[in-house]
């Protein structure tokens, strides 16, 4: 295992909802090492979406520090965060979030487009990325012409295209049947073996178990694998 790529210390995030303060993240600390395959498991409302937004640099902490590759995310402005998201993070969403009017290839090209990569190199890298997920032949297809599993593969190719430090997957199998889910998980394991750091967020214990390391989150608090909360997840 390599050096820590993510260092989160005493992270706090709370919302005001109807006059009541909700601590979505309460004193969360975690270190994630490069090349890790981490699963964050928690029920809905546990704060895992907030944590994902935080790790994905879509949000800034209220207090505590978040160092990504040694850079303090809390001190960055919106544009710097956009650059970090572009270069360091590859998002994989539950409902794929592909742009329906663009072809698979164009979807994969998007992060490279925003990174300012010239056309020729962009095309080559995107095709390479699609090849990794086994969809090189479907490059010209629109997302609507692809199955759910294929769409998620395109989304993974898009996440890979910019060669980010972290692949951040939020319920990547949530909208897929169990067979396709297994295929996607298998693909993610393969990518992890190739050296990609993967953070998987899920409520499904069976899926979380396939990761190398598992943490659980409940009521905004994080527990390492084997904590007393862990037993409760048997019901999911």
């Amino acid at each position: 295992m390599g050096k820590p790529i993510i260092q989160i210390r005493n992270l706090m995030k709370s919302y005001k909802l109807g006059g009541e303060t909700i601590h979505a993240l309460n004193n969360v600390s975690i270190e994630i090492e490069s090349g890790d395959f981490l699963a964050i498991i928690g029920p809905s409302g546990s704060g895992k979406s907030t944590l994902m937004n935080m790790i994905g640099c879509l949000d800034r902490p209220q207090s505590g520090t978040y160092l990504l590759d040694g850079k303090d995310i809390g001190k960055m402005n919106d544009n710097q965060l956009a650059v970090i998201r572009n270069q360091k993070i590859g998002f994989i969403f539950q409902n794929f979030n592909l742009l329906t009017k663009l072809s698979a290839l164009e979807n994969v090209e998007l992060p490279l487009l925003y990174a300012g990569i010239p056309t020729k190199e962009r095309r080559e890298r995107s095709i390479e990325s699609l090849d990794k997920v086994g969809l090189k032949e479907r490059a010209r297809n629109l997302p609507t012409q692809l199955s759910g599993g294929q769409q998620q593969r395109v989304a993974i190719a898009r996440a890979l295209a910019g060669n980010p430090s972290i692949l951040l997957a939020d319920e990547p199998t949530g909208a897929l049947d169990s067979k396709t889910s297994q295929e996607i998980l298998f693909l993610m394991k393969e990518l992890n073996e190739l050296g990609h750091t993967i953070i998987l967020i899920t409520h499904d214990l069976m899926i979380a178990k396939q990761a190398n390391r598992m943490v659980s989150i409940q009521d905004g608090q994080l527990q390492e694998n084997g904590g007393e909360l862990f037993g409760n997840f048997a019901i999911y």
Partner: protein
Amino acid sequence: MGILQSIKMALRSIMGNKLRSALTMLGMIIGVSSVIILVSIAEGSAQNVTSQINQLGTNLLTINTFGTDVALSDGKIDELSKLNGVKAVAPVIQGRVNVKKDRTASQVSLTGTNAAYSTVRDVLVSQGRFITDLDIEYRQKIAVIGADTAATFFGMENPVGQYLQIEGTSFKVVGVLASKGSSLGQSGDNVVIVPLSTGQRLVKSTTINQVFLQGKSENQMDFVMNEVEIKMASFFPSKSDSYSVMNQKDLMDTMSSVSNTMTMMLGGIASISLLVGGIGIMNIMLVSVSERTKEIGIRKAIGAKRRDVLLQFLIEAVVLSGVGGIIGILAGIGLGEILSSLLSLTVSFTSTVILSSFLFSLAVGVIFGVFPANKASKLNPIQALRYE
């Protein structure tokens, strides 16, 4: 992200919604084409008028008198004609008279003048002769009639030598004027010209209210005009409000200020439709922003900066308005040509109008695109991603 990529992206999104884009552009198309058509027609008619005034000759001075306290007597007109640089003087008395022949009767404008009128106003006779000084001296009951008047009373016959009843008195037609066409809505062909002395009797007034002076050369007109003004001031001291001395340039200035006002007014009215087209674009862009909230969220999560999103929507608005502008220009020129051939209007397309209406349409795109684009760029990515 480069501008070229942004433009490509905007074009894709416009092409992805063809009907809506076409309807949005329609506003700009109507706006730009109506500006071009209306302004071109106004400018065309202004050119028409200018060339007609130019035909009258630029070495013409006109003295107009108002009221009865300034009377230009024969002696005074004689003095004016003796000024340096003045070639000829034509006093004019005007009125409207009833003209009758057999059972045909009509109101015709009457001009009483002298022989010089023919050269001063560049009036040509197509048949017969013009008035001579002898006619005035002997108060001859003769008339030179316009081409339209001739057609009204004599049809295809030769009017020369025949008689007309003017205000009940019989006049012999001695000449017919060549057709001049109409100018400023006034037909120059429906006239009767009689000797000055006879004309004064017909309108029962001896007051000469208009005198035309012809200069010897165009270069001297400013000098001649000064001379005439000094002379008039010595004739009628402290009554300068009761007469005016104008040269053709003054007349042209007046006309061009009138036609400028007309151009501005028509252009202004048409610009309102450009404005409405711009609001249409803003409306569609706002709808597009809320419709594509999720897309904006995805793009932002992937790494689009505020500037990227802002540019994407702004360029989309500008491309919509710009393409609409170009189509509008083509439609405007096409329709203008059709109108000019159908209604035989003079239409003049100037590059200024075409260029400025195109630039205006681009500006409208920018102005009305900024608000929706700014709105899109400010969306919070977390909320935008959650938007369904």
